[in-house]
Symmetry: C2
């Protein structure tokens, strides 16, 4: 070989001294093979001659060769010396297509995310310190597939007190948020032979897709002046509802219908899946208690920290009928799926009272935002009817028929991201007359962007009528 191995060594940025020498030589040789600088079949110099070239001990080279033979980069055969192994791949083909960076809008009023800037970082860290300091070592092992008992106990107390849930820590299962809980339930339902699930005409497209991907056909229930009518769900199987606060339309499920759907589940052996995504945030009266309290044997209660704290925690919970709890645990594969440190921290956060304080402060903040939204629209787009504002982190702004797309586009022109009702929130098979509306998530912006977002929204809504605001054509929408 004409190649100078000493030069090669320099190319490899070898520092031929110190305890890391063997490691450095191994890495450098591996990289040379990888990059194609040492092609397949190349015979390497003997360890003795490379050692002389590099001015290092022969054993160091022999060890590096042995490492790379063990890893499959080199082959060593009696009589043919050490060679670069055959079949090495071409040099790295690069990173593949990168996702194009989407430019973030200046303002974001899309629903679904709370004000992340108000996440109680300091309080959370204090709770984390206490929780991790107090935790027994075995809490860090493979845990109960239902989740840490500290968190299940804290949540059972909280949900019973704040949401009227009949919660036993034994039948409470921690999951990674609502979608994860729903996914686990689809496994249970499929195993029970369920193939369709009744859903509301209004909801979230992601949930419908998740259900469809799990092999459950979603059948939308009628939606009338009183809201969702679950009467067409004849059971058994399952029905998915957000009884405390219809998403995104905002009304609670009518009391008669609450009772009826639970009775139907009881008499047919079906399951009601109760999505209590933002039960904590009700402004003008006490929250509607959980449907689950009416019949814990036929209602699955699903709650989440995604709205009350932050989606990034990836923590949710299900309160389950005893039999279902076992099936869900099996669907988890018999292992806990959520990090124990966050679980222990949330348990401490709840039992110390920090959760209640946080929810109260957040409720006040969101209520002020809601009031500001209503006031701004009353002043600047008085024809817009705002609904669904008694609770939650979003409002529905009813628009004149046919205006939804135009207003969303006008908002985009103002640097404002806001969702129309139809594309994401109306079930494609819904028989309900499509309504033109915006779904405005007033929880989403951080405080400093809130008034700007409100301005942009008001401008987008006043683009018609010579800037004098949208006027509704008929009295039925007023």
């Amino acid at each position: 070989m004409a190649r100078s191995w000493a030069t090669f060594g320099v190319d490899l940025h070898l520092e031929p001294t110190g305890p890391q020498l063997r490691r450095g030589l191994t890495d450098a040789l591996r990289e040379a093979v990888r990059s194609g600088r040492l092609p397949s079949g190349t015979r390497l110099p003997s360890s003795r001659s490379l050692a002389v070239d590099l001015g290092i001990a022969r054993n160091t080279v022999a060890d590096a060769y042995a490492d790379l033979v063990a890893e499959g980069w080199l082959t060593a055969r009696q009589g043919s010396g050490t060679r670069v192994a055959e079949g090495r791949v071409a040099p790295p083909s690069g990173a593949g297509p990168r996702r194009p960076e989407r430019r973030a809008p200046a303002y974001d009023l899309r629903p679904g995310t709370p004000d992340l800037a108000s996440f109680p970082r300091a309080e959370w860290l204090r709770a984390a310190r206490r929780a991790l300091t107090d935790a027994p070592s075995d809490a860090l092992g493979y845990g109960d597939p239902r989740g840490r008992v500290e968190l299940r106990t804290a949540l059972a107390g909280y949900l019973s007190r704040a949401r009227g849930v009949r919660a036993d820590p034994e039948h409470l299962v921690i999951c990674g948020g609502f979608a994860h809980g729903l996914k686990l339930l689809t496994t249970v339902l499929r195993a029970r032979g369920t193939r369709t699930i009744a859903v509301e005409s209004y909801g979230l497209d992601e949930h419908w897709r998740l259900l469809a991907a799990a092999g459950l056909r979603t059948v939308p229930l009628p939606f009338d002046a009183l809201g969702t009518d679950p009467g067409e769900w004849k059971g058994p199987g399952a029905v998915l509802l957000a009884p405390a606060h219809q998403f995104p339309m905002g009304a609670p499920l009518h009391p008669d219908r609450r009772a009826a759907v639970v009775n139907r589940a009881r008499h047919t052996g079906g399951l009601v899946l109760e999505d209590d995504y933002d039960g904590e945030f009700r402004y003008d009266r006490q929250p509607v208690g959980a449907l689950q309290g009416l019949d814990p044997d036929h209602v699955v209660y699903l709650g989440t920290a995604s709205k009350s704290l932050a989606p990034g925690l990836r923590l949710g919970w299900m309160v389950l009928p005893p039999g279902v709890a076992q099936e869900v645990t099996a669907a988890k594969g018999g292992v806990d799926t959520s990090g124990v440190l966050d679980q222990l921290t949330l348990a401490e956060f709840i039992t110390s009272g920090a959760y209640d304080r946080h929810v109260r402060a957040a409720r006040l903040r969101y209520r002020r935002r809601r009031d500001a939204l209503v006031a701004a629209l009353a002043a600047r787009a008085p024809a817009i009817r705002v609904t669904g504002i008694a609770a939650g982190l979003h409002a529905v702004l009813r628009l004149p028929p046919g205006m939804e797309e135009a207003v969303v586009r006008a908002a985009a022109g103002q640097g404002l991201a806001v969702d129309g009702l139809v594309p994401r929130y109306r079930h494609p098979d819904a028989v309900t007359e499509p309504l033109d509306a915006l779904v405005v998530g007033y929880g989403t912006p951080p405080d400093h962007a809130w008034s700007g977002a409100l301005d942009a929204l008001s401008r987008a809504l006043s683009f018609g009528e010579n800037g004098s605001g949208i006027s509704f054509p008929g009295p039925d929408l007023g």
Copy 2:
């Protein structure tokens, strides 16, 4: 009604003052319905008369009634007053069967869990504080389904440096540990039409069960004097291997077989799933580099924090061929599944150098334990051959044929939990001659229990031959 509502109020532990009055009344009435103290159909007093009885404002009572009507506990009908709704369920049926508490063994040498007492709590909390302080607010939202970019970048650097993995953060996906990663991959494989997967004759029964539950038949590969022989895997489809450190037998995959299995994957379009569960812990020489480095387009690399830090973190990672990365992301349902706080903390832990320090310290600790195990057995059970000790957190102790069950029982008699090889770690369809052996996880006990565990093990192994230790019948096992 003859009943005294004032007395009833007292029964309900009402504190008829303060701002929580309405809430307290609502809760108390709900509980009375729930418990059956107010049976279905019971007509409640008018709000006026109950208010007088309780000495509180009428509106408070009316509001409480309205709450409970909205929740479905009560019904209000023109002309028939307010009644307890029909169809209330019986009083809570109790908690259902509790799991019997299994008494923990005094000593535990079952493999799979590292020494949890040495989890670096203080360092972890420091990293958590820095990570949460530095994180932008939007890190707390619904994130990239692949996981936080900070962690993917930190891991790509670490895995490239420490394990010879060719890792691009774009194709690195965070998961909740090895089992979660494997589960996601089963979805991808099933969607590609794969119905069988080659596995090693020795492995972990939980993984085989997970694969079977996902609809993949596991076909064990032969195991000979050189270890696992993947030659019978003809591709395409997939093969699951632990090339750096066969579990539990301990040998690295033979260099020729490393090259051959990667070539087979390349030529057939199959996938090698590389389980690198404890690649950091190798004691007598440098770790064998990852198989993935040989061909990142056909090897899926799976790593985990479960052995290097703690299973309770529920953090693992996959380095994937670009196409597979997209399929895995879809299998995740398009959402991140791991808590961002732990992800950001681990990223900070790695980039600050704390992870390297922790791994070095843990390696030293485990190596001392391994040495103590080998020395104790040499002194007290000299006939026992100990294998698989060059790396990892466990050793295999070969026993005379037919002795496995008896030794496990003898250990239990010493308060020591230890696993036999056959029940959990030998594939039921393996054609390999069953070996009698113990799988000893020397990482499991906390420091204070280590010498006691070692004593108990030594006693269990010396129960035969009048306490003079087990002697092997033939030279082939020596």
